[in-house]
């Protein structure tokens, strides 16, 4: 971008390519470029480095404020339900979150709510051991609602600050699986009408425009409070999350930047906007 001095159609096409190649999607890209063009005209910008700054501001400004205040958890326990389609990084993210909360001095309890996929319980169990937190689990094939129920009860009796519930990956298009998720939420609401206090949708940073469909369906089924965008340590930019922020007003709470226990960062819209154009 900075090689060119003037703002012209060729430069705007370069920007279109950057945004679309970052998975921002056609509609959102056109809107961003249109807004930027208006500002350039109104504020009479001529230089490309100014355009770059406007773009970053425009993109960063799309993201709503984070919903989740780590230091303000009043519920005992604060219940987090982790949901999303298959393979996005839910179980790994729960391990990282548990570690983060534990480092903040919180008492964490995990729930092995994926009773369907081979070795899902064992996978979360290893994370619980790594982080040194309690895990509530039933047998393979058990009712996920029952696991969630037990976990919240255990969280209460053990005075946990946070209970994080893992769920099986499920495609948003599978009606019966989305019904199962609704049922898990209803069971949670029976134990505590205010729970889950946070529904976190875990999105894979390499996913394209399908991410918007995923977000819409999960919002429709159980509601979503925030997003965790994973695998940003690769070459993908996760730009579908911009369309989601814009159209569905969902904030991004954290990003996953690796497979290790510390590879979770609170989302920073400014840093994200910079990385998009890096």
């Amino acid at each position: 971008i900075n090689a060119k001095k003037k703002i012209d159609d060729e430069l705007l096409e370069e920007i279109e390519e950057i945004l679309i190649s970052g998975d921002v999607g056609v509609e959102t890209t056109l809107e961003i470029i249109e807004n930027v063009k208006q500002r350039v005209r109104k504020e009479k910008y001529e230089e490309s480095h100014e355009l770059y700054r406007i773009l970053r501001e425009e993109v960063a400004g799309i993201f709503p404020e984070k919903q989740f205040r780590e230091d303000g958890l009043s519920n005992r326990p604060y219940v987090i339900l982790v949901i999303g389609v298959n393979g996005t990084g839910k179980t790994t993210t729960i391990g990282k979150l548990a570690n983060r909360f534990r480092q903040q001095g919180k008492k964490v309890l995990l729930a092995a709510g994926d009773t369907f996929r081979a070795a899902a319980i064992e996978q979360l169990e290893i994370w619980a051991q790594r982080v040194n937190v309690d895990l509530v689990k039933h047998q393979f094939g058990a009712d996920p609602g029952a696991v969630a129920f037990d976990a919240i009860q255990a969280g209460r009796s053990r005075q946990a600050d946070v209970v994080i519930i893992d769920t099986a990956g499920r495609l948003h298009t599978k009606v019966n699986l989305m019904e199962e998720l609704k049922k898990v939420q209803r069971v949670i609401q029976k134990v505590d009408p205010g729970a889950p206090h946070l529904n976190l949708l875990v999105l894979d940073g390499t996913t394209g425009q399908n991410a918007l469909n995923q977000a819409r369906q999960f919002i429709d089924a159980v509601g979503v409070d925030g997003i965790v965008l994973t695998k940003l340590d690769g070459t993908a930019k996760g730009g579908a999350v911009i369309g989601i922020a814009h159209q569905l007003k969902l904030p991004v709470e954290y990003i996953g930047v690796g497979e290790g226990i510390d590879d979770l960062q609170p989302f920073d819209p400014q840093l994200y906007a910079e990385s998009l154009f890096a």
């Binding site: 056609v26 081979a118 070795a119 290893i126 948003h172 390499t206 996913t207 394209g208 993908a236 930019k237």
Partner: protein, 291 residues
Amino acid sequence: DLSSKLESVLKKVRGQGKLTEKNIADSLKEIRRALLEADVNYKVVKNFITEVQEKALGEEVLRSITPGQQIVKIVYDELVQLMGESHTDMKTAGIPPTIVMICGLQGSGKTTFTGKLGNFLRKKGRRPMLVGADVYRPAAKKQLEMLGESIGIPVYTSPSNDALEICRASIKAAREKACDVLILDTAGRLHIDEDMMRELEQVKKELKPHEILFVADGMTGQDAVNAAKQFLDRLDFDGVVLTKMDGDARGGAALSIRAVTQRPIKFLSIGEKLDAVEAFHPDRMASRILG
């Protein structure tokens, strides 16, 4: 979606006497947008539209009775041609075991596909053995063991934390169990992770797999070409598997990966169960991408 968008574009085009450069450009603009919305890579779309444009400007179309329909037909045919032939078979070893290496990014569906491939080959009368060579992911070996057990296919794993060593030892295990196909499940990895890519290169160098399959998530967006290119450059894989195609992702990654690697798509994974796998059909894929 493309179908209804194309309808209105076609109506405009059909109403005109013949195809002009202007209305070809207009319909291609709609098609370009549809392909991008289907997650086809930006550069791949650019090249593709240029090819179609050249064909559409040909004498044949200008004389056609329904020029708009002709453009869509050209796009569809070009897509089918680009997607390649329908089901390309995997290579088989002269002396067993045939070795198949499964690789790809994190979470793309490799371990599940390893089970599926084992199931698929056994139905064809082969005697597969699955190999748990993912030494990093918590409970990865257990996951493969459970999958193998669920369909009665032997799984070789060992407590070793050296993937190469496990693969090497699996050959002897296969011969002992008279298995004629070894399917190596490897850890998910980033194409930009030097150490992990080198691990795969070492496994390839020593085991000399007869078939290397790159497993990609069907809902991958623009980044599909980056990983595919790197894996191709470093491993020269033989074929591609697209997973999670039972969802509603348009699957543009299929076209991107195919365009950039020229490797055939050999299987589609269409569900979590081990029998949910099907051979690839280029015409069906073209229709899906076009919406």
